[in-house]
């Protein structure tokens, strides 16, 4: 399932870039509208296998280059608008996730990326694994995938700030 998409992407370039991205945010919420064209992302690894991280690092590569949308990664939660959580959320990480969220200035968004961050994936129900991220911080968007491809990640972020990619010449 994944592989045909890779081949198409190799031939035609990343899917998210083949579609038209709205230059302005059309989001209903004022928070999303504020971040439509300027979004600083703080990435928090809650215990990941590095699969999500290797896909995330591709977002800064010349092919995807998230900076063209005005998005950027930041090392400081004080500068961050969006908390991006990847990996299996364990009991030990709960206070740290909460602290990072508290350190971010309002308004702020939270995204859980990858199957592990969403429900624990194969680790669901294991000792020390927290079932639901929503109980710790309010999650605004879930980006599924194991790992989510850079396409999925960019699509999810753009949709979150109301700049969802509109399919061009193909059925959605």
């Amino acid at each position: 399932m994944f592989y045909p998409r890779w081949l198409v992407n190799l031939a035609k370039g990343p899917a998210v870039l083949r579609r038209k991205v709205a230059s302005r945010g059309k989001a209903a919420s004022p928070t999303a509208r504020l971040f439509a064209r300027s979004l600083a992302i703080r990435h928090l690894d809650a215990g990941s296998c590095n699969g999500c991280e290797s896909e995330l690092s591709l977002l800064g590569s010349p092919v995807y280059d998230l900076s063209r949308f005005g998005f950027s990664f930041t090392p400081s939660p004080r500068h961050a608008d969006l908390l991006l959580i990847t990996g299996v959320v364990t009991d030990a990480m709960v206070p740290l996730i909460r602290a990072t969220y508290e350190a971010m200035p309002d308004p702020r968004l939270v995204v859980a990326a990858g199957a592990c961050a969403i429900d624990g994936c194969v680790f669901r129900g294991a000792p020390g694994v927290v079932g639901n991220l929503q109980d710790i911080v309010p999650v605004d968007r879930w980006i599924p995938g194991c790992p989510p491809s850079p396409d999925d990640l960019l699509d999810g972020l753009l949709a979150l700030v109301g700049r969802a990619a509109q399919p061009r010449g193909e059925a959605s």
Binding site: S61, S67, T74, P75, S76, R78, A103, D106
Partner: protein, 299 residues
């Protein structure tokens, strides 16, 4: 200058990204970031003192005050230009930088602490460079008022060895003071290796906007001293007529953009120096400035 400084930053960011074969952020991105920061809440931790409430304002206004002292657009001095000479301007910029450092140290965060000690390390070594370069320029103009120096370099002092050496020294100073490669990488996100960007780690919302905007303006001020006082002292308005002022605005903006692209060219070509190698970089810069002073003494 208030409005142009973010544009300069945007142009430089995009040019740099293009050099890395990336599309890069839109050149208006710094304005959007400012708008966003002004609409976020400021957070400071509970350990901070009153310094944090004045530091952003002072750091933001210091380059604006200095802009009144240097020939930004006009060949004749503005009414306030005689309030301070080049040393005074340097001290005003320095005061802004000092308050930013105090505010950074005030938060007690380990990362801002690293930044403060490193910035002071570089600052200590860059100080003799600044003074030597300023005094050399002053010796040419026989005055420490930037307008007089501007007149001198517009005349016979233009193509002298001392002038060329002075230009090189001032460009090296800008790279060090503005935290660009090879001294510091402004785009890095590795907390442990950062120098300048680490200072604002604990700032958020409107305070961050003032710090960042102030930093971009500081780069513009240093650049204006280079292009309008030292390197190309032409194209300034001789009167306050709108047409002359408009031409001067265009000329200065064009010159600053060329300078920005030059800095980007350096960033494409060089890797970051190890922290202790920065001392050697600045030693060479001081030596060049000293040679420029020597060349004046001989001639």
């Amino acid at each position: 200058m208030l409005l142009f400084a973010p544009l300069l930053k945007g142009i430089m960011d995009r040019a740099k990204a293009r050099g890395m074969r990336r599309v890069g952020p839109p050149i208006l991105q710094p304005y959007r970031n400012l708008y966003k920061w002004l609409h976020k809440e400021p957070i400071w931790n509970t350990e901070t003192t009153a310094i944090r409430s004045i530091a952003p304002t002072v750091y933001f206004s210091a380059p604006l005050i200095v802009a009144l002292l240097i020939p930004v657009l006009t060949t004749f001095p503005l009414p306030l230009a005689f309030m301070a000479d080049m040393l005074g301007g340097g001290m005003i910029l320095g005061a802004g930088g000092l308050l930013l450092l105090l505010a950074a140290a005030d938060t007690g965060s380990p990362f801002t602490g690293i930044a403060v000690s490193r910035v002071r390390f570089i600052g200590t070594l860059a100080e003799p460079l600044t003074l030597t370069a300023l005094f050399t320029a002053a010796a040419v103009g026989r005055a420490t008022i930037p307008y007089a120096v501007n007149q001198a370099f517009g005349g016979p002092a233009l193509f002298t060895p001392s002038h060329a050496l002075l230009l090189v020294a001032w460009i090296l100073l800008i790279l060090a003071e503005a935290g660009r490669l090879p001294v510091d990488n402004p785009d890095s996100s590795q907390e442990l290796s950062l120098i300048d960007p680490n200072r604002t780690f604990e700032a958020s919302g409107p305070d961050l906007a003032l710090f960042e905007w102030g930093g971009w303006m500081k780069f513009a001020v240093l650049g204006i001293i280079l292009v309008n006082v030292l390197a190309t002292p032409w194209g300034l308005a001789p009167s306050l007529a709108p047409a002359a002022l408009g031409l001067a605005i265009l000329a200065t903006a064009a010159k600053l953009t060329v300078l920005g692209l030059l800095v980007v060219l350096v960033e494409w070509s060089f890797a970051k120096l190890r922290l202790l190698r920065i001392a050697e970089y600045l030693t060479v810069s001081v030596a060049i400035a000293a040679l420029a002073a020597l060349a004046i003494a001989i001639s």
